[in-house]
Symmetry: C2
Subunit: 223 residues, 2 copies
DNA sequence: ATTAATTTTTAGATTAGTCTAAAAATTTAA
DNA sequence: TTAAATTTTTAGACTAATCTAAAAATTAAT
């Protein structure tokens, strides 16, 4: 019976998962230090420990990748984080910009029974309030294919299915201009210089969006 | 702005509150060590820290008492613990013997907003699944006056309003013999030697209870 | 292919929380 | 009211997680 991961270890495993584009990509010491708001020296130490515990593969100066068991742990934490976000938004009436911080704490509660009952209570949701997929009890993730709004060109259209970033300032701004998941959006015009866009939102009229914002919005790929 | 208490500090504050009969009673080093499953030497150290932070009053060799701010913190933690227990039992279908451990973790989640919304979601309950009162947002506790079943004599009767202990073995046993909160109970006979009792439960017939058990069951005082 | 810049690791400290063993104070009992 | 038992505190050490400063390795630029 391996001892349970500490809160810190869990945060490292999750960060490695989230920084890596694919589960195979190498994650650098500095990237982890940035993401975890700590120093590279600290990361070096922790990396050695996680490697010793076989949660990651590590070669000096070469960065790290999650092992099978590390990936499993990462998905468990992310599952919890996203389920709790659904609970907070759907049942406690939090806004989508208020839940990330709280979920950062709740994701570390240890009780498999709790997670599964919460999942059932919520109706086994497949996405969280930001459109991110929720891994199931076996760690399976339903990856709905999507593209960035910023990658679309004039006259293309689609349904908004997610936001890449959970920065409250971004989310509050999207609220203010009536952008939310599920809405139909149509690209009217793209400015060739700064990539800013004029878009039409369902029946809510048109608006201008900077590239900073369009690069955070995910649109369903109509297959 | 005082820094938030650590998880460990919170557990000490809560234990001091729970061991003391009244908020004024002195709590000994050994009692804390027992309750927190740690060593007296460790308690001595922590006590100094809490005293420095003015959460407790402490005189060497004389035990500790909660200060005003310490008491406030204790009530906040207990409020959270009990609200989460209500959530687990009423909404996630946990049994009353399964929730204590999980609530021990959840009680440390830091977000006043979360606690208050949870309270509303639950319908502002005043007692938890074990009959313990839930402090309100201002730390006010509604103390329903009760006495121990073991203190009652032949032919006395009343309503079961709580259990003193959350040991899963006790709670599971009470389940098995159909004892639960809200039931009418009548003392038929008390054995003078071992204080064991024959009691009649609502319309569920009679049963024998040892003093070990009767001393854990709380009955409403009919004023 | 050297040199310069950047990244990563090591070395040495620090803090929170814990422990064991021993000393000191208090309480209980003779 | 001494002596014995118990409780509590101190002393010294350990682990996890962190830091700063310096050394080593890698990568980028002349
Ligand atoms: Mn989040
Ligand atoms: Mn999310
Ligand atoms: Mn409890
Ligand atoms: Mn309870």
């Amino acid at each position: 019976m391996e001892k349970a991961l500490s809160l810190t270890e869990e945060n490292y495993i999750k960060a490695i998962f989230q920084i890596g584009t694919t589960p195979e990509s190498n994650v650098s010491t500095n990237a982890l230090a940035d993401s975890l708001q700590t120093k590279p020296a600290t990361v070096s130490d922790m990396i050695k420990k996680l490697s010793y515990k076989k949660l990651i593969f590590y070669e000096k100066y070469k960065g790290v990748t999650l092992s099978e068991s590390g990936l499993k742990e990462a998905l468990k934490i992310i599952r919890k984080h996203r389920l709790w976000e659904v609970f907070l938004v759907n049942h406690l009436n939090f806004k989508w910009d208020q839940v990330h911080e709280i979920a950062e704490q709740l994701e570390h509660i240890k009780s498999p029974e709790l997670v599964n009952r919460l999942d059932d209570f919520l109706g086994n949701p497949t996405i969280d309030p930001h459109g991110d997929p929720i891994p199931d009890a076996n760690g399976q993730v339903q990856l709905g294919s999507s593209k960035l709004l910023s990658e679309m060109t004039s006259h293309e259209n689609g349904i908004i299915v997610g936001v890449k970033n959970e920065d409250p300032l971004l989310l509050q701004h999207l609220d203010k201009i009536n952008i939310r998941l599920g809405l139909y959006i149509e690209v009217k015009e793209v400015n060739g210089f700064d990539q800013s866009m004029q878009v039409k939102l369902a029946d809510l009229g048109t608006l201008f969006l900077s590239e900073k914002i369009t690069s955070q919005i995910l649109i369903a790929k109509n297959l």
